[in-house]
Symmetry: C2
Subunit: 404 residues, 2 copies
Amino acid sequence: MRQSSLFAKTSKTAPSDAVSANAALLERGAFVYKNSAGVYSYLPLGWRIIKKIADIVREEMDALGSNEMLMPALVDKKYLEATDRWGVDVGYRVRGIDEAVDAFALGWTHEEVLTEIASHHISSYRDVPFSAYQVQTKFRNEARAKSGILRGKEFIMKDMYSFHASQEDFDSFYEKTKQAYANVFARCGLDAYCTRAAGGAFTGNITHEFQVVSPVGEDVIYVCPKCRYAENKEVATVVQGDACPECKGVIEEKTAIEVGNIFPLGTKYSDAFNLKFLGEDGVKKPVIMGSYGIGISRLMGTIAEVHHDDAGLVWPASVSPFAVHLLDFTKSGDAAKNAYEALQKRGIAVLWDDRQVSPGDKLATADLLGIPVRAVISEKTGDMIEIKRRNSAEVKLGTINDLI
Amino acid sequence: MRQSSLFAKTSKTAPSDAVSANAALLERGAFVYKNSAGVYSYLPLGWRIIKKIADIVREEMDALGSNEMLMPALVDKKYLEATDRWGVDVGYRVRGIDEAVDAFALGWTHEEVLTEIASHHISSYRDVPFSAYQVQTKFRNEARAKSGILRGKEFIMKDMYSFHASQEDFDSFYEKTKQAYANVFARCGLDAYCTRAAGGAFTGNITHEFQVVSPVGEDVIYVCPKCRYAENKEVATVVQGDACPECKGVIEEKTAIEVGNIFPLGTKYSDAFNLKFLGEDGVKKPVIMGSYGIGISRLMGTIAEVHHDDAGLVWPASVSPFAVHLLDFTKSGDAAKNAYEALQKRGIAVLWDDRQVSPGDKLATADLLGIPVRAVISEKTGDMIEIKRRNSAEVKLGTINDLI
């Protein structure tokens, strides 16, 4: 794409109200635009990243055999009343302009909706197990919407729900999902601990969260970097400096960002919606469920927090909006045009900075945007291209083939 | 995909409250699930269709050079107050559970939001023209939500907005978009008339709508099938039986479904948000805008209305959830498994009905689901496959190669 036709203007100064690196750099780089506190637009560059993260998540969920679908954002009162969640404080209420009564909440999670749908689908043991997921805009009335896209009133989430005939079958799927989640975070360039966590509003059971160590995180975790033992503070059995119960490592206390969670739900929702199946033995039994979330927009913010330096963002190639940033310092632009077309022909996503600004401006913008490979064509480079990776200081001369 | 692991159970009977073919067949085929009046879930089969339609729309908008992005569903009061649209009756209002004041409307369109964002991006003539679009869940408080997914309270839309320095540049983009829209509808298997229409709440100018003739449509149009002359009733200069002003054809009155619209916006929104650019002549001028909508979920409903028969749906290949429906009538299932794997290896999207139900059930389900090619493997077919297209009565024996 030609940068001159990209709708997004970068800024040299951070927004005055940004309290975290992700908010400051993502706004300066025109990845996102803040419309209201906790409410963001994803501008074209940021939206390309969201789509890449969502596709990684989809690939891993599809590999589990899960079905993608989409449920409504308008969650009817009837669903939330069935489980006593109509009054949950993070729920937004919706009504028509002249209506006195709220008919809907804005979905922040969809256990109720999918359990009720499943009750029309599941009747026999042959209908389970199955799982379904969606990538959807979700809503939470967050009083402390302050950390950029890490905690918003409106955000993009993947939520998956699974339905099983037995605890053993559920346990097996839960472990497979744990691995799929680890794959997602590793592919996004993040080192996520899988922590034991409390169930929160969803369940009394122990659950698991995926936590990425970062100073802007809101959670406290205790981890052993040696054997990956990890607990959230609220259920912790160890403190900083303890010997890890599973190896000889030393427990460390860290602040961390929660990027995903997996919940055993037991029969809480199947009981509420009378979701039963007829077993092979002719006996009706409740379906055992789990739910599994990944914050897609929060992942983008977390990657920005973990992968940046003073000059700007340093996107991992897997989620970068473009593979190559082509900077043209020549007057004619002919060599850059040839390189641009050659890269496009080979299917390489390239952003060509064809703007009429100084080389210094282009270099600073390239550092800010953080595309993994920078390719400069100037009067000095002749037939060659000056190649530099964003995460390295090394600069070398090469050809188109060295960019691929 | 194996049909046994697909989360979606078809039904032999239509829902009692369905008033249109799209509602009845889409619910019976488990493409969609009705959660509330005008509020639907897209089950896995239906979601595959939505994604296919959305990708066709994306390809055509990208070919126009437009940038994909995503704006918030929570539209801050400040935006709609600036254009006196805070009180528009189709707008839903949002507030927290204990809050007395509505802070947001749920976005049914995004002229205000994008114009304000653009006012931070556009300063010089070098920053225009550009256009941006999103594929997004939209909300309207529809009293008459009754025609399945044709008119919902929550629906999926593509909305695009364009920004220009001159009327001439706008006109040229408007005409190119008209052609891109014609491409979208043709690729979805629809014959859409481009009608002259009134501006409605958006603009006093003449606008254009794309209308597909159907008995369940809510609009009345006057068309000449010979030369494609077409007007909406509310601006019509002709009536049924008139001679078409542009050829010798006879004008016909039709009911039709509006599947898209394109609006010249002039400077209405740029004036409201003080969106100006500095011209090459050093003079500040208002930006000239247009907006362009396509109802993605409505398109799915319209295709269902146009492409069905008494037995079920007849999806055009371009939007079908699968290319081939493989039915297995054998006991061992070996031949079907081989065919399934061979098709998958060649990248053909195949739904394999591996359920333990009768051949009659499988044939009826295949007709209901409407996948373009049906491939039956039975004890009778030997090494061959019985191939039938959903839109033809002809049945013939062939091999895997005849399915590709």
